[in-house]
């Protein structure tokens, strides 16, 4: 069964239709990347899935339940769907470790010891175990993003959404973050990744979605999209990256 099904997702800001009916599904352990030019609605799609934006129309089924329904506990749902932001959005008043424990303690109601144990585990995984008590404001961009990924993983989410996780990084730090995401993909973490890193998308995804002007133009395996795109718009977009 699909873990997530997006049906006819629509969203507008004021008079601008940003999403005009998005349909796709995500199955367990699958990695989907969404590509497309700036302003086509990639971030809005992720933000709707996480309910940071309220969809205007359509359904988002999580294990078959429509989470746009008012009766759904949105905080509980969000704790199961992690989100990694372009600008990291770490909590500046907390240390690296606390960034990773605060939601475990407040949302999952874990005690300090359990929360810290989990946090150490994931901080180790992203290679940040030596910075545990470091204030986050002094970390480099790549380090911040790795902490942000650990913070999300600590909630043990069923899906992780990445919104251009490397776009705000200096070029020399892109690699370390992609390396972490690559290892998650290998472990079978279910993910939706919005990215402009085409080589990475090709390598890591099970399926690639190309969006343009609020619609999915084409979806398929990395082979299909990158080597044999059917749509003219996809070809045009990809031409920019070769």
């Amino acid at each position: 069964m699909n873990i997530l099904e997006v049906r006819n997702l629509s969203k507008s800001f004021d008079t601008q239709d940003v999403l005009k009916g998005i349909n796709f599904e995500l199955s367990q352990n699958e990695v989907i990347t969404i590509i497309g030019s700036s302003g086509c609605g990639k971030s809005t799609t992720l933000r709707c899935i996480n309910l940071l934006e309220r969809p205007y129309d359509g359904q988002i089924l999580f294990h078959g339940t429509d989470i746009t329904d008012k009766s759904v506990n949105r905080n509980e749902y969000r704790s199961k769907v992690g989100m990694v932001f372009q600008n990291f959005n770490l909590f500046d008043n907390l240390t690296v470790l606390e960034n990773c424990t605060i939601a475990q303690r407040t949302v999952l109601r874990k005690n300090r010891q359990d929360a810290e144990e989990t946090a150490r585990l994931y901080l180790k995984k992203v290679g940040m175990e030596n910075y545990i008590n470091h204030p986050v404001t002094k970390l480099s961009g790549g380090q911040k993003q790795r902490v942000a990924i650990a913070r999300t993983l600590c909630m043990n989410p069923e899906i992780v959404l990445f919104d251009e996780p490397t776009s705000a990084l200096d070029p020399e730090m892109v690699g370390e973050v992609l390396e972490v995401i690559r290892s998650l993909a290998k472990e079978g973490v279910t993910m939706i990744i919005v990215t402009h890193e085409m080589a990475f998308a090709k390598e890591v995804s099970d399926r690639v979605i190309f969006m343009d002007e609020g619609l999915i133009v084409e979806a398929g395996s990395p082979e299909e999209i990158f080597n044999n795109p059917k749509e003219e718009r996809t070809k045009q977009f990809l031409r920019r990256f070769v």
């Binding site: 309220r54 500046d92 240390t95 910075y131 204030p135």
Partner: protein
């Protein structure tokens, strides 16, 4: 037109116990008013920034809307009228209900008055914390209240600490208005002393010097606290950098 130094000394010596009592009361009112005012300001400032969204229940929408209107009204009235007027009016208005003495009434009024200023300071502080941190907390499943308490408010208070501290200085001076309710603070004492020895210039000169000393000491302490906050941060950084 001149200040007679020997008279000054004798006025000071003869009336020191009265001045001392005034200093004590002024300090108590200033400190309690500032601390309670900050608490009131944190609560009302937080309410002022609450938002409803379409998916919230009707009850929540009504409560939040009412809360926002109420805090706006409170801030408008208490910042827009002099504390002398507030003190007199509220004391007499509510005396039949609470049967309160002037000391209790004055303490409450200075707190509520300070709270209105603190609310605006806290609101500005909340707005100074970048929106991304709130989104990240929400994306992890934290409620608005949890995000506010653990993430946003600590930073809001830290960012606006100079303005918050300034309210203590203001209160050292403005508690003098409570003389209308016969609170025996420094101004009331000065007024009484001068009224009995007719040495207005010397008595008020002493009073002014005492106020200046009190506000200077308060400034000094506040500056130290501010520096300490920064030093604690830097120390953390130094410790882990080595």
């Amino acid at each position: 037109m001149t200040i007679d130094f020997t008279i000054l000394v004798s006025v000071f010596k003869r009336n020191w116990p009265l001045f001392e009592h005034g200093i004590k009361i002024t300090c108590i009112f200033a400190v309690i008013g500032t601390v309670c005012g900050l608490l009131i300001g944190i609560i009302t400032g937080a309410i002022r920034t609450m938002k409803t969204d379409e998916d919230d229940s009707m009850l929540k929408k009504i409560l939040v809307t009412f809360g926002i209107l109420f805090t706006r009204f409170y801030i408008w009235v208490f910042r827009g009228t002099p504390m002398v007027v507030q003190a007199t009016f509220i004391y007499y208005l509510l005396r039949p209900v609470f049967h309160w003495n002037t000391t209790t009434a004055s303490l409450i009024i200075i707190s509520v008055n300070t709270g209105a200023y603190m609310a605006e300071i806290v609101r500005a502080g909340i707005q100074s914390v970048n929106e991304g941190q709130l989104e990240a907390s929400r994306a992890l499943g934290m409620s608005y209240g949890q995000a506010l308490f653990h993430i946003i408010m600590p930073q809001a208070i830290k960012n606006t600490f100079p303005s918050i501290g300034n309210q203590l200085i203001v209160n050292i001076k403005d508690s003098s208005m409570l003389n209308v309710l016969s609170v025996t603070e420094l101004f009331f004492q000065t007024y009484s002393i001068a009224g009995s020895n007719f040495r207005y210039i010397e008595t008020y000169f002493i009073s002014a010097i005492i106020y200046l000393l009190l506000t200077s000491v308060a400034s000094f302490i506040l500056n130290r606290m501010e520096k300490r906050m920064d030093i604690e941060n830097n120390a953390k950084i130094m410790e882990y950098a080595s």
